[in-house]
């Protein structure tokens, strides 16, 4: 995600990479307190990844406290009565572990990667902070500053991220997907320890979490350990969020974002269903295939026709996340080449959409995408972490992880006519939002003018 120039061209590799385990390879149990535990054994190397997924994220947040899920994720490293701030990370480090956490729209997750015998270390610590977090005001006062720095780093000083944030806020009116995961700065400035405490009490409980372990472990032993460490935790009464289903869009929305930048940037998003919301269960898969036709690597239409052929785009991407909790947008994004404007690029993308609506995709193109999907399913077996991510994502939004095994078959069943149908039904102006980054001059010529001649003092 840090290689920004490649962001768009890497859509495919992500979009066509869902998990590959055979269905019978997943073992699952639910503890009496409601905690789900899912295990996938992979005995290639003597390691394991353990992840704890909570059903909470920015799409659970209300106005005024945006970013609270993510700030709480930071605070989860700040101590319990048993273990003071920082102790969690020190213990994991001393056990040779790598750890981190991440917050998305639909989930908050914590993970450790360790040598296989250390699973109990991970469970002991995670169980402790699931119910016993301290949330001290003095720790919060420091950590909220860190999060504000993170926002400056990732969003405020990143013109494309800034555009993305405005795009999302324009595309959604009443759906909580309008909020940035990191939160609006004003909300961060006004967040209080009590907001976090309330959030923690509301969502952090065994019956609102799933533990996913992938690696060189035995499922029955994992279940036993889970029972030992998480079993004593009390469940909470979890009140589901209100649906907050996005209202129907009634026409194109356009946003301009002016920011100091060198290059323009275009984002287009069409409202589409996801698996959870689709009335026709094949439609999300047809949209996924559509994304592959346009952006399935170097041989797909965007690379072939927009980057190499007409050279209107320096880069162009298309993609879609069908595993979201609520209805989402199907996105297009790109940067025009030197000789072209953002308007040219938008027109080129619209022409590509029109072609999908008018002509069925060739059998050869579909076969090529399927070949890539099938191979990618095998390749991803090389990454236990990624497999755990997929399982956790699906389970946390309320989908059956079996869908991961059905992915190839469901995609393979999609016909050219179905792709045409979803293009006609969803890629239409009434559900479209367009955001454009309008580059403003940098105050100076930073990269050149201000730099003194370097190296003059070298000892050579």
């Amino acid at each position: 995600m840090q290689i920004r120039f490649l962001l768009l061209t890497s859509f495919l590799s992500l979009s066509l990479l869902p998990s590959a385990q055979a269905e019978n390879a997943l073992r699952e149990t639910t503890l009496d307190n409601g905690l789900r535990v899912i295990v996938k054994e992979d005995h290639r190397a003597p390691v394991m990844v353990s992840q704890v997924w909570y059903r909470v994220g920015s799409s659970y947040e209300n106005d005024g406290i945006t970013g609270v899920s993510h700030v709480l994720e930071h605070m989860m490293f700040k101590g319990t009565p048993k273990r003071p701030a920082g102790e969690f990370s020190r213990i994991i480090a001393a056990n040779g572990g790598r750890e981190n956490a991440f917050t998305g729209q639909d989930y908050t997750a914590y993970f450790q990667q360790m040598e296989k015998s250390r699973l109990k270390v991970s469970f002991a610590l995670e169980a402790d902070r699931m119910r016993n977090l301290l949330l001290q005001p003095e720790e919060f006062a420091k950590e909220i500053k860190v999060v504000m720095e993170e926002r400056r780093l990732r969003t405020d000083d990143e013109p494309q991220s800034l555009t993305q944030e405005q795009f999302t806020a324009a595309a959604f009116v009443n759906s909580p997907y309008r909020h940035p995961v990191i939160g609006w700065m004003d909300d961060l400035e006004n967040l209080r320890t009590e907001d976090l405490r309330e959030w923690y009490q509301k969502w952090y409980a065994p019956n609102n979490a799933t533990v996913v372990v992938v690696g060189d472990v035995k499922a029955d032993e994992v279940f036993k350990l889970a029972k030992q460490y998480f079993g004593p935790l009390k469940p909470s009464k979890i009140t589901p969020t209100k649906p907050r289903q996005e209202i129907e869009q009634k026409g194109v929305r356009r946003v301009t974002v002016k920011a100091p930048a060198e290059l323009p940037y275009l984002l287009m998003g069409y409202k589409v269903p996801v698996i959870k919301t689709a009335k026709e269960s094949w439609e999300p898969y047809a949209l996924e295939m559509l994304a592959g036709v346009l952006d399935g690597g170097d041989s797909a239409r965007f690379a072939k026709e927009l980057v190499r052929g007409s050279q209107i785009a320096a880069e162009a991407g298309a993609g879609y996340n069908m595993y979201n909790r609520g209805a989402d947008v199907f996105n297009f994004a790109g940067t025009p080449s030197q000789d072209h404007s953002v308007a040219d690029l938008e027109q080129a993308i619209r022409d590509q959409i029109k072609r999908l609506q008018d002509e069925p995709v060739s059998a050869q193109e579909l076969a090529r995408i399927k070949a890539q999907v099938i191979a990618s399913k095998v390749y991803e077996l090389d990454s236990p972490f990624y497999q755990a991510m997929q399982i956790g994502t699906l389970v946390t939004v309320g989908l059956d992880p079996k869908l991961l095994d059905e992915y190839v078959d469901k995609l393979s069943a999609i016909t050219p006519e179905q792709i045409q149908q979803v293009a006609r039904k969803y890629l239409v102006d009434d559900g479209l939002t367009v955001a454009v980054l309008d580059p403003q001059p940098m105050s100076d010529k930073p990269a050149h003018g201000a730099m003194p001649a370097g190296g003059g003092r070298h000892g050579r």
């Binding site: 994720e73 920082g86 797909a300 370097g454």
Partner: protein, 463 residues
């Protein structure tokens, strides 16, 4: 499953901490897709895979680890043909690498892309300062693997560098340069390298400059390829469900018909800095980005383990490192604060970095400097050293837990001519490091009063 939208989400998903410099394509050019070994924090040990090694008839060195568990094959072909071999023509190595799959033999770019696409094979290239790497991941079954290898061999041996593709890729690189100019990180990196390495090839921006890119010709790429993409300048790393004979056949298919050629000559030696240097670059960002450092260590450095283990305490171990503790945990000044050595053919940079709200930049820089000074004077405590060793050695299995990681490691071992038992001895070497060795190595190798410091952000007057 994640697509466009989700990729973008990934930018808004907030990992709690990261090591931006390791993720940040610091030495990777903008087009690079593959994981690049020198960005891995370091080497590994214990139940290390047994590496088989041989040489093709025309002189390419091959490194192979059988991995029968999954029906896939990963290959890296690394040439000593990175940005350090630009020969004053900035951006040439990157441009050459990027053009490889834009035409080869009778095939044009579309046909090459379709061949790999039809097979589900993944092709990628990357140019760093030291190396130019071509990677392939393919299914093992012969009806897929063989045509994928044949196509790759053609790309390595007979790229055609079509003039129109040359112009297009150059234009994309020019866009890449402008993209860097809207990133305070990238601006800081460039200034940092230039100040640290001066006229040494490591000091030149890997993507070149507008001027250097505009001066490149197709012939430059053709010549760069014919000089450096030769067997004696190549290392092949293979991990997959193959036996030795199959791996040998694979290597012969890929590089057996390359001209023998010559290995690249030694690089000029990196010089020490003789004084500290401060570079302030005005930039309209909310945060000020700070980098501070000096030439560090090489991949085969005699002080490698002392510096690596020592730096783990200083700034190499995420949140529990001293820099992170002082800058982030105690003061909330930055989302990330870190230090690392990037071992390269010659001495790659030792770098400390952070980003902070501009009005706090002076304070943060002072904390960073004080932390380094104290560390160089006194070294880690016994407890810190113990914790570092436990983390490094205990986490060793994680370094080699996927085929991808193993192929990156054996590529590195081959490329830098490291001992074949490097992985087997890694844990023992880390465990053997003592406090005095770290103190001695840091005192000799890190001079806090001779650092290059780059500050990119709003100047005091504008804060």
């Amino acid at each position: 499953m994640a697509a466009n939208r989700n990729t973008i989400n990934f930018m808004t998903i907030q990992p709690r901490k990261q090591r931006p410099m390791f993720n940040n394509a610091r030495k990777i050019a903008v087009f690079a897709v593959v994981a690049v070994f020198s960005l891995l924090p370091a080497p590994f040990a214990s139940a290390a895979p047994a590496i088989q090694q041989w040489q093709t008839a025309n002189g390419a060195r091959v490194y192979f680890v059988p991995a029968p568990e999954l029906p896939i094959v990963d290959v890296r072909i690394m040439f000593d043909a990175g940005g350090a071999r630009n020969g004053g023509k900035g951006g040439l190595a990157q441009l050459t690498t990027s053009l490889l799959n834009d035409g080869a033999g009778d095939l044009n770019a579309d046909q090459i892309a379709e061949r790999f696409g039809d097979l589900g094979a993944q092709f990628a290239t990357a140019a760093e300062l030291d190396s130019a790497t071509v990677s392939l991941r393919s299914l093992r079954k012969p009806e897929v693997l063989q045509p994928a290898l044949d196509t790759l061999a053609l790309i390595l041996r007979q790229p055609t560098f079509p003039q129109d593709a040359f112009e297009r890729v150059r234009k994309r690189m020019l866009i890449g340069l402008r993209q860097q100019q809207q990133s305070p990180d990238a601006i800081a990196d460039k200034a940092f390298d230039k100040a640290m390495y001066g006229d040494h090839p490591y000091g030149a921006p890997p993507l070149g400059t507008e001027e250097s890119l505009n001066a490149l010709t197709r012939d430059d790429a053709v010549n760069h390829h014919s000089r450096y993409y030769v067997a004696r300048n190549a290392v092949v790393a293979i991990v997959g469900a193959l036996d030795r004979a199959q791996a040998q056949a694979l290597a012969d298919t890929l590089v057996g018909k390359l001209p023998e050629g010559e290995s690249a000559p030694a690089l000029p030696k990196v010089s020490d800095l003789t004084a500290s240097q401060a570079i302030n670059i005005e930039y309209p960002s909310a945060q000020t980005h700070i980098l501070s450092g000096q030439p560090g260590m090489s991949r085969n450095d005699p002080d490698y383990f002392a510096l690596y283990v020592g730096n783990h305490t200083l700034g190499g171990s995420g949140l529990v490192s001293r820099l992170s503790e002082e800058v982030r945990e105690k003061r909330g000044l930055s989302y990330s604060a870190y230090s690392y050595f990037m071992p390269m053919r010659d001495r790659g940079p030792f770098t400390m970095g952070l980003q902070t709200r501009s009005d706090q930049a002076d304070e943060a820089l002072k904390v960073m400097r004080d932390t380094l000074r104290t560390f160089v004077e006194k070294g880690p405590t016994a407890k810190e050293l113990e914790a570092s060793k436990k983390n490094i050695t205990g986490g060793f299995p994680l370094r080699i837990d996927t085929n991808k990681k193993i192929v990156d490691y054996i590529g590195m071992i081959g490329f830098y001519n490291m001992p074949l038992n490097y992985l087997d001895t890694f844990i023992a070497k880390v465990d053997a490091i003592t406090l005095p060795q770290i103190q001695d190595a840091f005192k000799r190798r890190v001079q806090p009063d001779k650092m290059v410091t780059v500050v990119v952000g709003r100047s005091a007057a504008q804060k």
